[in-house]
Point group: C2
Chain length 247, copies 2
């Protein structure tokens, strides 16, 4: 049982502005919530329906627990098929961006990715391929949007997402920048070495003009058919796959 | 200007049942509609707002044209940001499935893919990598769902989608079946030869027990990090990429 004001508070966290003000975001589903509990994130509170009680296991005493009804769940969920458990998790302070720390590894840089599903899927693929840092331009979709959290399938708890002025970041970094472009060297023939930045652009417009000059190597995924382009999450994942295949 | 009954007719095509009854589906956006016009599909009618008129070009006289207002557009669209033009396109008769015709090429088989965005993205990637046929189990999402059409970005006009009893199809086909599994031979070390079926399973449950025995080679995309799985459209696309890289 939760109060009306709690319900409207949780619902308000569907909005970016309120998430920012309150420093909280919503995670849904037992598996994802467990991954956040086992991560550096701080889980503030958990709302669960009766059936889920036995599966919850031992939770830290610092997490506030609330049993709710199915009717209450349907009011606070952002999913079409809610998963019987919702957590409020603290938005972490963004870690300071030390460009030197990132040397010797691969990272992904996103220039204006708009679709939350794409961002979440990129986070999930990065986690699969062991890429732990994603640098986002300030106009990229917000990582704590419920649709991003959902599509990341728990991987958001493990991948470091940093929002920054991407042009400035790329100008300070000494890593080679591999730009995903429609024209460039074939990804299959590219030697990525042991470190670098995979730069991907906006769904409709690609990498912005401002960042084009920061690209060290324009790289393309060769086309064998007729589609005009690939989905950006697909491109990002094929880059990750090729880098790991060669490493 | 369109009538109230036309508006409710078009809106009714957001439902699978009505699409099936009427044999029509909705395509939105100028680029996608032009690709359907240039394909074997039959475009029945086009609804466009004034601004789009000059871009329409020469259309076949058989296509019924309707200029509509922005207010009317907002009533019939299935998109959050409608694109000023909507077409009704005929659902084609499903081509007969001749397993022998498919020999000598690669095709994708989908076992119970539920998410329309995933199906649309798979169609787009198949088109990019020159894979022209996708065989879907009967419980896979319907290809004429507006979300599938949208995610396919026009590629639905070029890729042949066939719904059938997948177990029966695989038992009749003589092509090797490469099953995307969490355990199996590394995709990077697999020689795919010149023909085969890439079999992908449901988002939550993978390939069904019934079809497991039809897999010739269980193949995995090696994991380098901690995510539990990859999105199915990502897996499908990495399979396509690896097949083309080696061909």
């Amino acid at each position: 049982m939760i109060s009306k004001s709690q319900i409207s508070f949780i619902k308000s966290l569907h909005q970016k502005k309120i998430r920012k003000e309150q420093g909280l975001f919503i995670v849904e589903g037992l598996k994802s919530i467990q991954e956040f509990i086992n991560s550096d994130y701080v889980v503030d509170s958990v709302y669960y329906t009766e059936n889920l009680m036995p599966k919850l296991g031992n939770l830290s005493r610092n997490i506030k627990l609330h049993e709710i009804s199915d009717a209450e769940l349907s009011k606070i969920t952002s999913l079409n098929s809610p998963q019987a458990i919702i957590a409020l998790v603290r938005i972490p302070k963004q870690s300071n961006l030390n460009t030197k720390i990132l040397n010797g590894s691969f990272l992904i840089a996103l220039d204006g990715i708009q679709d939350p599903g794409n961002l979440g899927t990129i986070i999930r693929s990065a986690d699969w391929f062991g890429i732990n840092t994603i640098i986002c331009s300030l106009d990229t979709a917000e990582a704590y949007n419920p649709k991003v959290v959902q599509a990341s399938m728990g991987s958001l708890s493990r991948v470091n997402i940093i929002y920054t002025d991407l042009g400035k970041f790329l100008s300070l970094s000494s890593l080679p920048v591999y730009g995903a472009q429609l024209k460039g060297k074939s990804i299959y023939e590219t030697d990525f070495g042991q470190e670098g930045i995979i730069l991907l652009g906006n769904e409709g417009n690609g990498i912005s003009n401002e960042l084009q000059s920061r690209i060290s190597y324009p790289i393309t995924i060769p086309r064998y058919g007729n589609a005009e382009s690939l989905n950006v999450a697909i491109s990002a994942s094929i880059f990750c796959s090729e880098i790991r295949r060669k490493s």
